[in-house]
Symmetry: C2
Subunit: 400 residues, 2 copies
């Protein structure tokens, strides 16, 4: 079982400094959880994560169940044994894939749809690969097109085999284009699934490679205030030791902030709160001030692969390494970063590797961006310890 | 200037144990030179090379001249400053691209064409991207289709900017399908180019980021005995401090061995001999016994990316990590290897990474295969020190 301790709070905000103690180590919060969908952070090895101070990873039950299969991972000691990452693991449940392979695909949107209210869905991307019933979800495999069935009970069985320290129940992540009626229906189903997951979790206690797992609840309800509050209350009432905030976060950053306010207000103060799929610097700072403790997001590692390197610089948080101005720039990406890329390589060399499509680029860029996230969260925690929530401007002008 | 010392010879063979002392460190020979075409070994960083004991790299003047440009690299301290690899560097001249983008493309073959003598060219692959005159070579850029001109003098100028420790003159690498008449013509042109390169090398002495470069000669002549002997004699007579063996090596492994015998017999005993583009275990062992000191080849790193991991195993030198039998295999690729992949990861995890197309795979596989080459050459040197040239069978059954 994990325990959560609050070490300090910032008056006038919901922000708190804390620590999440898991069977595989301590996570200092607020924390960024690095995304390792298939058991590895893309382009990195475990030593790279250790080198830059990453403390916790999140893997995906849907993807790992398809390949190599939860049984294979269970037989090899769970995620800790299989992947070599001995620190804390989270696993997501496949609930996000209900959205990304279902309504998200049909509606052609992400969890935040940046268009004007009431607009029609834009750029529909295809047919749903998801069939949903009260029992659970049938997914079409992205690997071979076969159908697999996820119920709340099956997901717990899979997550017992994977053995993460914090696991999440099957939920239904809704789209910004779902109306209030459908969002309510999906939310109520998610609540019933949460109760089934809790029962399955109790019935499988002690099974699998990690007997001390914790099951956190997921709050849904889209961007509708009454639904978000109702969902937070319902999920909180089930006694989960921690909470994740999932589903649609509305149509703008402002919507997202309101959703967080409504949700956090209904959650017990003493338990950790995880925000699924959010990782932009500005969003993290706002969410911290609204009481979120942990975040996961594929953006920092995906940005790295696309040439966007994160840095605390005069020009902002991003540096596009593709730019011709870096061709003869012998400085590191950021002075004082200390990551393996900045210790040994110039912007000019990274620019060359990126333009040449060299595989070496991906590791150096990814390790750098994760180092940035680690440094960002350390600055956030230092500010909280000093009694303030930092603004983006303050982060850019403070010392490394 | 580099110096070469022979430390031991194996009676009854041409094999020798030696060391090549360059301005950037010592290469123990026989040695495998890791291929870093665009300034990086694909998927690796410098620390990876250091971790597995790689001693020397070879880059390609043609590719680096196209991107990022030799001037940019020169301005950043040459290859040593630009790439961070502070050990010895070789640069190839672009002569191989005369073949690979020219006749090799038209004839649809590699440097060894494994078909019966006299057969017609197989699988022609396209039009030549090369226009050759006495002056030099015009290449069509593989990046933007523009034409660039390489003369013997221009190549020396570029290599002075790149600053490798051992550099090679522009030559014409011929095809196994070139007849004796054309092969002779190309060889004689290569000799005239070698003399021009030597003059240009003298005239630029002290220029560029590495004033102590050595220019080695390249022997051509295809698989024709009289031509190979004539080329080795001609190139040797020009006073180069070392030699590379280039060009077509015939239509079979046996042809290659004969070519090496003829060539080495005409080269001065006290100078190092490099075999361009050869790196299979069996070929290295034969070439060592015939008096070759260094090798470069893209195969070990390319094989890694394609799933073929090199090992000293009961089953031979290769293990195809894609195989379903590795899905639950918790052993390292090879016990006793000690590379970063074998220290921390199982065959099952590498199998999963490969099947999932994860970028993390490429680094681990590549670092493993280079570690294998380092261990292979160490075993070869140990055998030579003991007075024998090892056979493939002995290497497979000897201890790690």
């Amino acid at each position: 079982m994990s325990t959560f301790r609050i070490l300090a709070e910032v008056p006038g905000t919901e922000a708190r400094l804390g620590e999440l103690v898991t069977p595989h180590g301590v996570v200092r919060t607020p924390a960024f959880v690095a995304v390792a969908t298939r058991g590895t952070v893309k382009a990195l090895a475990v030593e790279d994560l250790e080198a830059v101070g990453v403390e916790v990873l999140i893997a995906n039950t849907y993807h790992l169940a398809l390949r190599p299969g939860a049984e294979a991972i269970g037989a090899l000691g769970g995620l800790h044994g299989f992947t070599g990452w001995q620190g804390p693991w989270f696993t997501d449940s496949g609930g996000f894939q209900v959205f990304s392979l279902g309504a998200g695909k049909v509606h052609g949107v992400g969890k935040i749809a940046p268009i004007f209210p009431g607009a029609a869905p834009i750029r529909p991307m295809g047919e749903s690969l998801v069939r949903l019933t009260e029992d659970g979800v049938r997914f079409r495999s992205v690997i071979d097109g076969s159908w697999i069935f996820f119920s709340p009970e099956e997901v717990i069985r899979l997550e017992r085999l994977l053995g993460a320290d914090v696991i999440l129940p099957l939920d239904e992540c809704t789209s910004p284009f779902h109306d209030e009626g459908y969002t309510r229906e999906a939310m109520e189903r998610t609540h019933r699934w949460a109760e089934r997951a809790l029962r399955a979790f109790e019935e499988t206690r002690g099974m699998g490679p990690n007997p001390d797992q914790a099951l956190w609840g997921i709050v849904q309800g889209g961007a509708y205030e009454d639904l978000r509050r109702a969902s937070a209350q319902a999920i909180a009432s089930m006694g989960f030791p921690g909470f994740a905030i999932g589903g649609s976060l509305g149509r703008s950053k402002e919507d997202m902030h309101r959703v967080l306010e409504w949700t956090v207000a209904e959650l017990p103060r003493d338990r950790p709160r995880h925000l699924l799929g959010i990782g932009a610097v500005e969003d993290i700072l706002v969410a911290v001030s609204l009481g979120v403790d942990t975040f996961d997001c594929a953006a920092p590692t995906r940005l790295a692969r696309n040439g966007a390197l994160l840095a605390f610089s005069e020009e902002g948080f991003r540096l596009n390494i593709k730019g011709a101005r870096f061709r003869r720039d012998d400085r590191p990406v950021e002075e004082g970063c200390g990551c393996p890329a900045c210790r040994s390589y110039s912007r000019a060399f990274l620019h060359h590797l990126f333009r040449s499509g060299e595989l070496s680029y991906y590791r150096l860029a990814t390790v750098h961006n994760l180092r940035f996230m680690v440094r960002l969260m350390a600055r956030v925690r230092a500010a909280l310890a000093g009694g303030t929530v930092p603004s983006p401007d303050r982060l850019l002008t403070s010392l490394s």
